[in-house]
């Protein structure tokens, strides 16, 4: 596609349920980031995939959060047993190897009720 695509755009879930957020990066981009942003706040780094290297998971806030990237392309961020504090916008970005400009998707707004 022409840009980074994230789905769903909005997700409302009940506390305790699991959710999966999807990111389709720009074709050929080897780097993929997941960030979380609460209202009016900055970007909170979650996880970084770069090519075939082991992902940098240092930003995942708890073991309820996990992410995978299949075939070096599509990525899924999974949040298990969601809590109200997980409510935020989850942003995905991708970039080419050696070119650091990051291209962002429009995000998924997650609301846990």
């Amino acid at each position: 596609g022409a840009g980074v695509s994230q789905s769903p755009s909005n997700k409302v879930t009940e506390k305790g349920k699991d959710v999966e957020l999807r990111c389709d990066p720009i074709s050929g981009h080897t780097a993929l980031y997941w960030y979380r942003q609460s209202l009016g706040q900055g970007l909170e780094f979650l996880i970084y995939f770069q090519g075939n290297s082991a992902p940098d998971k240092s930003g995942l806030p708890s073991d309820r959060f996990s992410a995978e990237r299949t075939g070096g392309s599509v990525s899924t961020l999974t949040i298990q047993r969601t809590q109200q504090e997980d409510s935020a916008v989850y942003l995905c970005a991708s970039s080419k190897q050696g070119i650091t400009e990051a291209f962002f998707g429009q995000g998924t707004r997650l609301t846990v009720v």
Partner: protein, 111 residues
């Protein structure tokens, strides 16, 4: 902290005035980038300045970089109401390491 810092956190100006935002960082970087975010959704890349550059222009944007002070500034000249957004800096340390982001400056340009 792995994050850069930006000041001011919030800035409110009148249309036509210039807006200056600053960013400081802690690690050595290969380049520093500025991004804009409207309405809490995806960020858009504005400009990149490399570590061997001191100043760069793009339209009404002017970016400076002082590697000795580990700081950068973004100047928007002749601001417009449409410039209202949040502005973030991001440092790239190279070697495929992840970008390090500032906390952002929220700019309001009043008509």
């Amino acid at each position: 902290s792995q994050q850069g810092e930006e000041d001011p956190q919030a800035l409110s100006i009148q249309e036509g005035e210039n807006a200056t935002m600053n960013c400081s960082y802690k690690t050595s970087i290969n380049n520093l980038q500025w991004y804009r975010q409207n309405s809490g959704r995806g960020l858009v890349h504005l400009i990149l300045i490399r570590s061997n550059e001191r100043e760069k222009h793009s339209g009404r944007l002017r970016v400076t970089l002082d590697t000795s002070k580990k700081s950068s500034s973004l100047l928007i000249t002749a601001s417009r109401a449409a410039d209202t957004a949040s502005y973030f800096c991001a440092g790239d340390a190279g070697n495929n390491r992840k970008l390090i982001w500032g906390l952002g400056t929220s700019l309001a340009v009043n008509p």
